[in-house]
Amino acid sequence: MNMRKGIVGIVAILMVASLTVACSGKTKADNGKVTINFWHLDSNDLHYPEWEKIAAKFMEAHPNVDIKITVLENEAYKSKLATVMQSGNPPDIFRSWGGGVMNSYAESGLLKDITNEYKNKWDSKIGEGAVGVYSYKGKIYGLPYTMGGVGIWYNKDLLAKVGYTNPPETWKDFLDCVKKLKAAGITPIALGEGDKWPGHFWWVYLAVRLGGKEAFNKATIGNGSFNDETFVKAGELLQELIALKPFQEGFLAATYGGDQAALMGNGKAAMELMGQWAPAVEIGSSEDKKGLGDKLGFMSFPAVEGGKGKLTDLMGGGDGLVIGKNAPKEAVEFLKYITSVENEKFLTTGPLGIVPTAIGAETALTDPNLVAINKAVSAAAYFQLYYDQYLPPATGEVVKDATQGLFAGTMGPKEVAAAVDASYQAEKK
């Protein structure tokens, strides 16, 4: 009797996969309508209605289509998606960051190849680099509707208080600025390290500035490794920052949306390292739902003395949608609709505030920060996708875990590099 309970408890997790198959249902509904299952993660109150609006417009134009939207919070989304993918029954159209995680789906035949449709039937054109992030072995599986970069977002007023009208441009100057903010009683940096991915940006960016494209390529496809000096040094530089205790109290358990973005949006912290979506999430998480407005500035990640990377090298990524293997052709049609110039303009000017990918939609950008990001993306000689999406999933998890160890002071720079390398060597194909 009791043993049975024991077994059920343990295998329940493994069984969730098979149960989801039963629950997710398939395309043709009873009324003859084609159902499209659409999953995204813009769960903020201001953001999810945007997708509802686009879906409603599409259904109006295509009365035979019924779009079922599933919205999940970021971390929950990643978990649930991993589970349904393992069940072999992906949603018809769903949010993806491209890169290694998407490649592993494509490799297993869980995604639909839309190369043909995109090349011959698309209304809009998207930059080649951006499409490349959603391609695997020459085939296109989805498209980004926004593409941008990570950089430092700062509160102009708070920086001005400690004498910075222009943001610091070198790592040394950046550390000075942090010290001055701290001395003035201002929280220099907001960080949601409980989620781990916001912290891994710091380590990756330092590596990008230190070693540039060359170091990363050497470690991943060349004869080098993540034990190379670049990655150890990145940890050492990050330790210098951590030693200054620049983050809010309790940052190790804090979340991105609930804590980091809220601190910035409410003007309680001076800086954060985040991607192009930062202003939109800050607004959504702030108490007055207004955020910092034009008091918010953006700058690229500081240069590191003696680093081989260029200041124009950009780490970032896009948000895009990929098509599941069983999707009806209407789902591809829906993606075409979303990435049209008109709809990307709609998303650009609305609360989601995207940096659009469709060529011609960027004219809708009015926020100078986002215009700057848009320029940075096109000017980047080396565009590095976030490690947690680019590397194999298991290594991505190790990068995030290890950098959290650095932030908590339980791991040293060498251990972080060694942990990442050990996982990468075990996972690379």
Partner: protein
């Protein structure tokens, strides 16, 4: 135990019948057995067998199984210090539950079982309430309570000890597990208390009267009357407590995913993180098998001890 004795009598009954059992009766016997058999096979035996099968592969969860690795997953697992860290944390949950949670639940049970006056019933209900909450909701509520900027605890510290700077118990690898243990205690002590209350109320008052007449003091009455009568309840609560501690997951996950830096990871959290989140279903299956074997070993040991005592 009751279940085993029942099974034994059932066996006897059927063997007496066997001689007379017609084919029709036998067909009926199997027909009635079939639904339960199918359910157990489909939802318990099949997944377990499948999991064993997967555990010998290097498999990311999608696509065909093609990379047979034998016992490599097991070797990796047993060499991973993080897994031992997780098991150690499970051990701490078990130790804490047995030596702190259960005694307190027992004491409270004694306090609230004696009468059925309104205040007693009120407290009985209040103590039991946390158990009714779902694990995830419990986790989310306590995350708020512990929050370093706007949590309840922060407010309390600010009022009572203004000099103490509260930085969030969940944010420090040294305190996070203790903070979670407290929530585990808060959530489950009521359940064990109710088990004990039921046991205590089942003790016929005559035994206490007899003990009193024989000159037993309250401590002696407790040791010689209460405890022996409570043996079954204690055994049962111990069993739930240990199996529950081995499987604890939801509360920990919702209070910070086992972090910071693995400080609050237990075996199932480890399974979820390094199996499912890392897209390593083969390895994850091996973790599941090891946890299963541990539970099984415990169960066998438990049955042995209980049966020996009953003989």
């Amino acid at each position: 135990m009751d279940v085993t004795t029942l099974a034994v009598t059932a066996k006897k009954g059927s063997s007496d019948h066997k001689a007379k059992a017609t084919n029709r009766e036998r067909a009926l016997f199997y027909a009635l057995l079939l639904p339960a058999f199918l359910l157990v096979t489909m939802f318990i035996i099949y997944p377990v067998v499948n999991t064993v099968f997967y555990s010998f592969y290097d498999w990311n969860g999608f696509g065909p199984l093609k990379n047979f690795v034998g016992l490599k997953n097991l070797r990796t697992l047993l060499r991973d210090p993080l897994f031992w860290n997780a098991l150690r944390n499970n051990g701490i949950v078990i130790g804490f539950s047995i030596f702190v949670q259960l005694p307190i639940a027992f004491l409270l049970a004694i306090l609230v079982s004696k009468s059925s006056s309104r205040p007693t019933i009120f407290f009985r209900t209040v103590f039991f309430l946390p158990y009714i909450l779902s694990e995830i909701i419990t986790g989310v509520i306590w995350r708020f309570i512990y929050h370093p900027q706007f949590g309840l605890l922060q407010q309390v510290f600010a009022k009572l000890a203004p000099d103490y700077s509260y930085t969030g118990f969940l944010a420090d690898p040294k305190t996070v597990f203790i903070a979670i243990l407290f929530v585990v205690f808060w959530k489950y002590f009521g359940f064990h208390m109710i088990l004990y209350v039921a046991g205590l109320q089942g003790i016929p008052p005559e035994y206490y009267e007899a003990a009193l007449i024989d000159g037993a003091n309250p401590v002696q009455a407790f040791v010689y009357v209460t405890l022996p009568f409570m043996k079954n309840a204690i055994q049962m609560s111990l069993f739930f407590c240990i199996i529950g501690s081995l499987q604890v997951f939801d509360i920990i996950w919702s209070m910070g995913q086992g972090g910071p830096v693995h400080a609050a990871e237990t075996a199932v959290v480890y399974l979820y993180k390094f199996g499912i989140k890392s897209s390593k279903m083969g390895f994850g299956s091996m973790v599941a098998i090891v946890i299963f074997v541990i539970c099984l070993a415990f169960n066998v040991l438990y049955q042995r001890v209980i049966n020996k005592e009953e003989r």
